[in-house]
């Protein structure tokens, strides 16, 4: 048997002989990937998301405020409950509610006035709605504010055009216009016609409503609705959140495996085994190269098992180029092996090296988007992560699995991963301390 093959087989035998480690090394990433996959959309991308908890404090008690609360309560994304100011503040502080909306006294009156005049009845600025929020839920806050805007517009306009307070306000405004000597005659006439038309519209609807012949207006509503379509690998192909999570966890645990291989080499250098290996007529490329090949094969094995599991249990499919998928996996496996060799080359003591390299691995995993997709990162961070190899591995695996991209889209990730392999490999070979100090 040639020495290179013997060295590779020995590494594989040692790896698979440690059955407990193999099982843990596969079961743990599968569990984590299943959990993250469920959180990030699950199978088919239609996993039910939990409602945002919102408390409402109605200090106004007007028709508008009641209408506003009814609008919010009717939204499927919100879980709306009435509360008091103190109780709401405490609930948000403790994280039991995401936000609390405070509708102040006279909000209905001022909002109705502001709808036509741009200011409240007293001439002050527009009335304010207080929003107390949990700062750890910034993303939900944006959604709540958006839904609140729509609900306020609808409830205020409804009341203004068809409600009692709306009619009173039209009458008041009409009188103000007609009695305003500073208003030019032409403007007075135009505004009078407009408000008179609204008054007539309201009276006609009142008569029709009394005879049951027509329905009242629902107020101003959004003049559009959205039709959502997830753009995946093809028509009728749903997004599968497990594809990303299994890729991410595979990357994390393979990096840890590469790290272990490096630490093992570091420990080997301090043992009699290293002396025996060095005493044999073996080249340095044989010793390090065999290590790289065996680590790559183990990486490939972990990837294969994880994606096979994801395929069978969660229906994750390689919707893009299979060759591209294999290429990304192979390039990442090689990169991991080179990373392990670099750890062994740069490490001084096992304990210190383990600490530093675990930290480096976790940072790479985090920035690469293996835990959470990189789209939730701020833009500067997304730009920065192009220098992280795991980012390319994740992009490559995402592209070849659920995005369904072609082989050409795998070329960039493969090339970058191979460049990192070369970089880590050169550092490993040049910095490796071959001599064992006696």
């Amino acid at each position: 048997m040639i020495p290179f093959l013997a060295l590779v087989l020995k590494d594989l035998k040692l790896f698979f002989n440690n059955r407990r480690a193999v099982i843990v090394g596969l079961v743990v990433p599968i569990l984590l990937a299943s959990f993250f996959g469920y959180l990030f959309g699950g199978q088919g991308g239609n996993a039910e998301t939990s409602k945002v908890s919102v408390l409402v404090i109605d200090q106004d008690g007007s028709d508008i405020s009641r209408g506003l609360i009814a609008q919010l309560a009717g939204d499927k994304n919100l879980d709306v409950k009435a509360s008091t100011l103190d109780a709401a503040r405490e609930a948000v502080r403790k994280g039991k509610a995401t936000a609390a909306i405070v509708i102040p006294k006279d909000f209905g009156r001022d909002a109705g006035h502001a709808l036509f005049t741009g200011s409240s009845e007293t001439g002050a600025n527009k009335p304010e709605l207080g929003v107390l929020y949990d700062p750890s839920h910034n993303m939900e806050l944006g959604m709540v504010k958006g839904l609140l805007s729509g609900a306020v517009m609808q409830s205020v306009s409804k009341e203004m055009f068809t409600g009692r307070s709306g009619r009173e306000m039209v009458d008041e405004s009409l009188a103000q216009v007609q009695n305003n000597p500073r208003l030019p005659a032409e403007d007075r006439k135009a505004l009078g016609d407009l408000l008179g038309g609204v008054k007539e519209f309201n009276e006609r609807h009142d008569r029709a409503g009394a005879s049951g012949q027509t329905q009242l207006s629902g107020g101003l509503t959004m003049p559009y609705q959205t039709r959502e379509e997830a753009i995946t690998s093809g028509h009728d192909v749903a997004y599968n959140g497990y594809a990303h999570s299994f890729g991410g966890m595979a990357i994390q645990f393979i990096l840890f495996m590469g790290l272990d291989a490096g630490i093992a080499l570091l420990m080997l250098r301090q043992s009699g085994l290293w002396q025996r290996l060095r005493a044999a007529p073996l080249s340095r490329s044989t010793l390090l190269g065999s290590r790289a090949v065996s680590a790559s094969l183990m990486s490939g094995f972990i990837l294969a098992v994880l994606f096979s599991f994801a395929r069978v249990v969660f229906g994750v499919r390689i919707l893009g180029s299979f060759a591209g998928f294999v290429g990304v996996c192979a390039a990442f496996s090689l990169m991991t092996a080179a990373f392990g060799l670099m750890v062994a080359a740069l490490g001084e003591t096992v304990e210190a090296t383990r600490g530093y390299s675990i930290m480096a691995t976790l940072i790479m995993v985090m920035l690469g988007g293996a835990w959470v997709p990189t789209f939730v990162f701020p833009k500067w961070l997304r730009t920065l992560t192009v220098v992280v190899p795991t980012r390319w591995a994740m992009d490559g695996l995402d592209g070849m699995t659920w995005r369904g991209l072609g082989f050409s889209s795998a070329l960039a990730p493969i090339a970058v991963l191979l460049l990192f392999t070369l970089l880590f490999g050169v550092v490993a070979v040049t910095r490796f301390r071959w001599r064992t100090e006696a």
Partner: protein, 317 residues
């Protein structure tokens, strides 16, 4: 002048680690079939010397020749002539004894029936044939030491470098290893044996190289080393009545170099036993000192080391 036909020639080896001079100008040679003991306390430079011979370390200066050839590259065929038994256990606990040996044989490109025969022979030699299929992790320390030796024999090296191969083993296993080494010696192998156990060097070695603080102190046969001592023999006399006995007057006798009383036993150092012993016994009789047992002893290597370095070998560890 070192003869070029030696199995091993070590010429002027020097190696330092920073300011620490580990080996300084060490030279010696080993002929075919010879067993050389490298004796010295821990940190004397024995392991560094062996590591340089095995090609694990490069000397700062000097050279090592195996059958006249230097180890120049990692893959140098000269390495095939060397078998190394490291001081630390060099085995995979998770693999069986046979798998370990198969792997180490493959490092020397052994294949097919050659491997099977080599493994069988090695296991037979060290007495572990019946445990070939067991994982090394289940072995006792002594068994591991024997397997550690077997792993170095697979490629049938002509010279074996044994770096303290009996460290931490029980007397029974140590004896088994000695027997293995004596068998190898009979087969004509050249052995380089580092130890700080004098009795091991005395039992196994044809010549002893004493190293201390990286420097070669002596290089001779056991007999030759004894000749370096002021006394080469000791007459031990168990006195019937040692109370009040004063050994100092005996120093006036011709041939007597030392005389001391130790717990009822009088030890008298002489150069020539045949000439010194009669005079000592006659003096005891003439001065009324009866005795019940007389024997002769040779000074140990401990005494040699003490004489050459001024300190005890055991104290130096």
């Amino acid at each position: 002048m070192i003869h070029s036909s030696a199995m091993l020639e070590v010429n002027g080896l020097t190696k330092s680690y920073g300011k620490l001079m580990a080996v300084s100008g060490v030279s010696f040679r080993a002929d075919y079939g010879e067993t050389i003991g490298l004796l010295g306390p821990n940190g004397a430079g024995k392991t560094t010397t062996v590591s340089i011979i095995a090609g694990l370390l490069s000397p700062d200066s000097g050279e090592v020749l195996i059958e006249g050839k230097q180890v120049k590259r990692d893959t140098d065929p000269v390495k095939l002539k060397i078998g190394l038994v490291p001081q630390e256990m060099a085995l995979y606990d998770q693999l069986t004894a046979r798998d370990n040996l198969t792997f180490f044989a493959a490092l020397y490109s052994l294949a097919g029936t050659t491997v099977k025969r080599a493994i069988g022979d090695a296991l037979t030699l060290v007495g572990l044939s019946d445990r070939a299929g067991d994982k090394v992790g289940t072995f006792s320390g002594g068994m591991k030491r024997r397997l550690n030796l077997a792993a170095a024999l697979l490629h049938d090296p002509q010279i074996l470098l044994l770096d303290e191969p009996t460290v931490g083993v029980d007397p029974q296993s140590r004896n088994a290893i000695f027997e293995n080494l004596e068998t190898l010696k009979k087969r004509g192998k050249t052995l380089i044996y580092t130890t700080h156990y004098m009795e091991e060097a005395e039992r196994l070695c044809d010549r002893i190289v004493i190293i201390d603080h990286g420097k070669l102190i002596a290089n001779d046969t056991l007999q030759g080393l004894h000749k370096l001592l002021p006394v080469t023999n000791v007459i031990a006399v168990e006195l019937d009545h040692a109370d009040g006995f004063k050994p100092e007057p005996m120093l006036a006798l011709p041939e007597v170099k030392s005389a001391e009383l130790d717990q009822g036993t009088l030890r008298v150092g002489v150069h020539d036993l045949s000439r010194g012993a009669p005079g000592v016994l006659r003096w005891l009789a003439e001065n009324g000192h009866s005795y019940n047992h007389v024997s002769s002893e040779q000074p140990s290597l401990e005494t040699v080391f003490l004489t050459l370095t001024g300190r005890s070998l055991r104290d130096s560890r």
